[in-house]
Symmetry: C3
C-alpha cells in the first residue's frame, strides 16, 4: 500500500534536510512532500514569526495543494506543527506520525516540555540574537547527533538555520485532545535520542498523550534524518502503513 | 544442548498459534509441544471454566505424558498457567520461561496486573458475551501486533477465539513465591510490546518477581508468535539453554 | 581518526580479559593498552590493597609511559578507577568512556551504588575469604553473562580472580564533579546488562552524573568483553571518536 506523506521538519531545519528520508520513502512507492515551515525559510523574520503563523503555513500548504489522506509526519518541534495542523484539518489527515516529536496539551508551549537548562540557554541566546535561537555545536554533537562521526556532525550543523524562538514560547490552541482526533496515531522512538534528558523523555512521556497509538522503534539519535535515513525511512514506513 | 519445551499460549490463542515458533525450535533440535489450555478449545464452555481448571489441564497434560526436565514457556496469560503448573509440578520443571507474560503473586488474578481501562473494557464485553472476552481489532492492530502489516494483523485476528473471562478474575494459589522455586527462570522481553501501557510494563515490573532470572530481549510486539517467529524462537532458545 | 585507548577492567578481571576487545579496536587502527589494576594481579595481597592504591597504579602506568590524549575506558568497577585517574591526570585525558561502569560522586564508594543484597553477599564472602570477594557462579551465569552459552559462562568464570573488597568500601576523593572535567565523556550501555537490578540501573542513573555525555548502546550483557567483543569494540569506537 502506497500513500501520501508530508514530512514536517524540526527546529533549525528546513524541508531540504528531510529529503534523504523522503527519497527512501519514495523508493517504497510513496508520494512524499517536504515543506519548510514559516520562520525557517532563508528570508523569514525570526523575530516576528510565532507558532500560529508557523502552523498556518503548513495548513495553507496542504489546502493549496488540496492534499487528502495525508500521513503527516512531524520531527521534534515539527510535532507542535502537525498537532496544530491535524486539529485544523482533521478530515484531510489519515495518520499522525511523531518522530521523537513534541505532543502538546492544549495551552502548552514547546518550552513547557523541555528541561529548565535548555530554557535558560535558549533565553540567553535569543536575547542576544534578535529573537533567534541556535544550538551550541558541543550539544549538537554529543546529545543530538551522537551516532554520527565528526565529519557528519559538522556538515549537518552547518546546514542548520537560526530558529524563531517565539515558536517555542507561544502556547498552542487545540480544539480537543490529540488522543480524541479520529485519525491514526504513531510514535517513532529513536532509542539513543538524548536531545531530551532521560528524566523528561520523548517516549513514553509524550507518546502516551496520543491515547491508542502504534509504537515503532529504531536505533539512532535525534538526528537520524542525517545519520541514518535508510533506517528512519523504514521506521516511518512501518509507522505509517495501514 | 537440546531439550523438551512446552509452549503455553496466551489468552484468545490456542496451541496451534504457537506452531510457527515451535517449528523453528524443533529446527534447533528440541522436542516442542503446544497444548491448548482448557477454556480455549473449540467446544469449551467459556462461562464455566476458571483459572484452576485451566492450570489443571496443563498439569494433566504433563503428567499424562510423564514429561520431565520441561522447559515451560508461557506467553502473556500463559504466565498465569505456567506459574500454577510449576507450583504443582516443580520436580518436573527444568526452567520457567516467561515471554512478556504475567508473573503473579500468591492470591493475585490477572486483572490485578492490568490497567483499569482494560478491566472496564473486559467487564463490559464479557457481560454482553456470556462470560467470554474479545479484543477490539483496533487495539489488536495498534497495541498488540504493531509490528505487522495490515494483512497479517487481520489474518491473525481471525484466528483468535473468545476467552473465558473467569480466568482473568480468579485468584491464583501458589504454595510459595515463584522466586523461591528451585528451577531456572528466564524472562523474554519483546521491546515494542505495548499490550500493557508503559506505566505498567511487563518488564521489569513483573519479571523482577522471579528473583534471580535471565533476561533476554528482542525487537518486536506482543504478538511475535505471528509477526516474527524466527526471532522469537531464537530468543526462547537463548532463554532456555542451560 | 585513530587514537590511543587504555582499557581498564572491572572487578574480578585483569587486563588479559580485555584483549579480545582490544584486538578488534587495534583492527580499526587504534593503539590499545590493557593494564591490570593493583589488587587484581596474581600475587597481590587482596586484604591490603584499597581504592586509592588501585587508582594510583593506573596513574603510574599512564605517567610512566607518558601517555597523552588518552581515551580512557572503564568497565564496571573500572569506572571508579578511571574517575580517579581523570581527576588526577586531567590534562592527559581526551575522553572518558564508561562501559556500564560506576560513576561516583566525591566521597562515594562502589558499595554506595549497589543494592543491599549484594553488600550482604559481599560482606559475608569477604569475611570468610581474607578480604577477597567472589561471585557465585549462578549469579554470574544468569545476571552477568546472560547472553552466553553455558560453555562460555563456565570458561569465563574460570578466568576470574578474587577481588580485594576494600576497593568496594573505600570512598573516592574527587577534586571536582566529573561533569566539570574538561574532557569528553561517553557512556556505553549494554542493554541486557542485569548485573545491577532495574531499580538501580547503570543508565541513566549513573550516566547522567557525567553532565553532557554521548550515549552509545548495544545489545548484550554486562560481560560483552567475553560474549560479544566485536560488537562491544564497535560501540567503544563510536563512543570514543571525536
Amino acid at each position: 500500500m502506497t500513500g501520501l506523506y508530508v514530512l514536517v521538519h524540526g527546529a533549525w531545519h528546513t524541508g531540504a534536510e528531510m529529503e534523504a528520508v523522503a527519497g527512501h520513502l519514495r523508493g517504497k512507492g510513496h508520494v512524499v512532500l517536504c515543506p519548510t515551515i514559516a520562520g525557517n525559510n532563508a528570508g523569514d523574520d525570526r523575530n516576528a514569526i510565532g507558532l500560529e503563523q508557523s502552523i498556518a503555513s503548513i495548513v495553507d500548504y496542504i489546502e493549496s495543494k488540496d492534499l487528502r489522506e495525508v500521513r503527516l509526519v512531524g520531527h521534534s518541534y515539527g510535532g507542535m506543527i502537525i498537532s496544530g495542523v491535524a486539529d485544523r484539518l482533521t478530515g484531510r489527515i489519515k495518520r499522525l506520525i511523531y518522530v521523537n516529536a513534541f505532543v502538546p496539551l492544549n495551552g502548552q508551549c514547546l518550552n513547557d516540555m523541555v528541561p529548565p537548562h535548555y530554557i535558560g540557554l535558549f533565553d540567553a541566546v535569543a536575547a542576544g540574537n534578535n529573537g533567534a535561537v541556535m544550538l551550541p555545536f558541543e550539544i549538537w554533537r554529543e546529545s543530538f547527533i551522537n551516532d554520527a562521526d565528526i565529519e557528519l556532525a559538522k556538515s549537518s550543523f552547518a546546514k542548520l538555520n537560526p530558529h524563531p524562538y517565539k515558536t517555542f514560547t507561544d502556547k498552542i490552541y487545540l480544539n480537543r485532545p490529540l488522543a480524541e482526533l479520529p485519525v491514526g496515531k504513531s510514535y517513532v522512538n529513536c532509542r539513543q535520542d538524548t536531545a531530551l534528558p532521560h528524566g523528561l523523555p520523548w517516549h513514553p512521556r509524550l507518546s502516551e498523550r496520543l491515547g491508542l497509538f502504534r509504537l515503532v522503534e529504531c536505533d539512532g539519535s535525534h538526528e537520524m534524518f542525517f545519520s541514518n535515513p535508510v533506517e528512519l525511512a523504514d521506521a516511518i514506513n512501518r509507522a505509517g502503513r495501514d
